[in-house]
């Protein structure tokens, strides 16, 4: 994957690498949850949790557009490459984020100008800011660590992380907003359910401006269906921004390279492209 020699790679180059169309085809399946393949015996961790430890990456890789997978080729800098179209969004059935009208106008404005942006039209990820939830999972490979009472997710990109307690300890006050939010996890059978609140409004879901407010709540469901595969669902609610909750779904594959280690990805320290990305004469920055 991308971690090996990424000492000082610019944000823009990383966006290109991470959008590479390395896997063809995406299945859009019904959003009614996932269950293990017949006969698959879910392994357990030493403390008895269903075992989802390891390095996982989504297929197809890329974070260019949640709603139009054919744009992944653009992210790779290859305008001739077209992946099968379709959306990562499985509900509503049209694959579109159900914005309220005013928010749809904002999203269109960003989408129209994301290649030639003013500061507010530039993907915050290009600044190496924390990716939020679930962008961290979309953006790069994730190392899932399970220890008694908690799940820890170490994202490769910009070394962001999430600590997810598996209990109902009191949450932060509502006004405390964080890039990576406040998560609580629980196991429903073999499915890990993570509820996340207290997210700030800064990260986007993709490069072309799918965005949310600080009223967002995310419910993620992760189910290991065989040794190499996790099914991932995330339902997003945001009453300030959308007309209804919506759900994205994708598949994650396990990295089976023996001895693989996650190495330093110093995104902000190596960032050299912001001035070019914001080169528009009236960008003001």
């Amino acid at each position: 994957m991308t971690a090996r020699h990424s000492v000082a790679i610019s944000a823009a180059l990383m966006a290109v690498l991470l959008s590479a169309p390395n896997i063809a085809g995406q299945e859009n399946r019904p959003s009614n949850g996932a269950s293990a393949k017949a006969g698959y015996l879910q392994p357990r961790t030493p403390d008895g949790q269903p075992d989802i430890r390891g390095f996982w990456h989504i297929v197809p890789f890329g974070t260019y557009s949640l709603q139009d997978m054919s744009l992944q080729g653009l992210g790779a800098g290859d305008f001739s490459t077209k992946l099968p179209g379709g959306s990562r969004i499985v509900d509503p059935p049209d694959g579109k984020i159900p914005y309220q009208p005013w928010a749809a106008a904002k999203a269109k404005d960003i989408n129209d100008h994301h290649m030639d942006p003013k500061p507010y039209q530039l993907d915050p990820q290009a600044r190496c800011w924390l990716q939020g939830v679930p962008r961290g999972t979309l953006q790069s490979e994730s190392h899932v660590v399970q220890t008694p009472g908690q799940i820890v997710i170490l994202h490769d990109y910009s070394h962001s992380y999430r600590v997810i307690p598996l209990d109902n300890r009191p949450k932060l006050p509502e006004h405390m907003k964080l890039f990576m939010g406040e998560s609580r996890g629980r196991w429903e059978g073999n499915t890990l359910v993570i509820d996340t609140t207290n997210l700030n409004d800064i990260p986007w879901f993709d490069i072309v401006g799918s965005f949310h407010s600080d009223a967002i709540r995310v419910a993620e469901r992760l189910t290991r269906i065989d040794d190499e595969t996790l099914e991932y669902l995330a339902t997003v609610e945001d009453t300030k921004m959308y007309t209804r909750p919506w759900t994205m779904r994708f598949t994650m594959k396990r990295n089976t390279e023996p001895g693989y280690e996650q190495w330093e990805h110093a995104c902000y320290e190596g960032e050299r492209s912001l001035h070019r990305l914001l080169a528009r004469p009236d960008s003001g920055r």
Partner: protein
């Protein structure tokens, strides 16, 4: 003065005293344990992982002024005073390196890499005034820091990758020596400092860190620092890491370089 006299070292004469009396070994263990426990903040025994090593899981923080200046120093307007965290009074710089350190100190407000919000390097991140969380497994011990979501992955019982590599946080390889976690760190860049006072190193820096639990809520933290390009000999840092015990404490975020985010992106959140 030497601030590195740790509780662990104070415990050693206790053992010697009883050994000198010729008491059977089993009795020494029995009799000295209360003395060692008395030197700790809590009377409970050390938690251990399933593989028998001390369980360092939890949220920790150094409580001292090493982040401002590792050497003993009086207060300045931008700096709380401190007795220092090094063995001896001064870091053993070469003459040329000492001149550079003095320049760094004079211009610290402008030159400190901390001002750019970059990854702070090791050992500096260990004593910055922010909490960090240890996530421990038999093969990897990960330290998560609140300061710019810094992460240290300490890979256990494996060799360093072949260099040259220059990483902000270096490459950390750990092993257990009894109850002490020993971490060997190399592959640094030369762009981080050791504190706000301009103490510095080069890409040749080699660290050996020793984390020794001193009861359930304290870790004696000792670092041996070598860098032949700037120091005349290896030297040591030592301090105590304290366990946070506040109810429901969690790491928050200090996203140093994105504080202006709400302002930049205001136009898209305003109907």
């Amino acid at each position: 003065m030497c601030p590195s006299l740790t509780p662990q070292r104070r415990a050693i004469p206790t053992r010697s005293f009883f050994a000198g009396l010729g008491i059977a070994a089993a009795s020494i263990v029995f009799l000295t344990m209360p003395y060692e426990v008395a030197g700790q903040s809590s009377g409970t025994t050390l938690a251990r992982t399933s593989d028998g090593h001390p369980d360092l899981t939890g949220i920790w923080q150094a409580v001292n002024s090493a982040a401002w200046d590792l050497e003993p120093h009086v207060a300045q307007p931008d700096m709380p005073a401190g007795i220092g965290a090094i063995d001896g009074d001064q870091i053993p710089y070469t003459a040329a390196a000492l001149a550079k350190k003095k320049e760094n100190y004079k211009n610290r407000a402008a030159l400190d890499p901390d001002g750019k919000c970059f990854l702070p390097g090791v050992p500096r991140v260990m004593y910055m005034p922010f909490p960090f969380q240890i996530v421990q497994t038999p093969t990897q011990l990960t330290m998560l820091f609140e300061y710019v979501h810094t992460v240290r992955n300490i890979f256990m019982n494996t060799p360093h990758p072949r260099g040259p590599i220059e990483w902000w946080m270096g490459d950390s390889r750990g092993r257990w020596e009894g109850d002490t976690l020993v971490v060997d760190v190399v592959h640094f860049n030369a762009d981080t400092w050791l504190d706000k006072a301009g103490n510095f190193h080069t890409e040749e820096m080699h660290l050996v860190e020793r984390f020794t639990p001193n009861g359930p809520d304290h870790i004696d933290y000792e670092v041996t620092i070598e860098d032949p390009k700037v120091f005349t000999r290896p030297w040591k840092i030592s301090m105590i890491l304290y366990r946070h015990k506040e109810k429901n404490l969690r790491l928050l975020e200090y996203e140093c370089y994105s504080f202006e985010g709400a302002e930049i992106y205001k136009p898209i959140h305003t109907p």
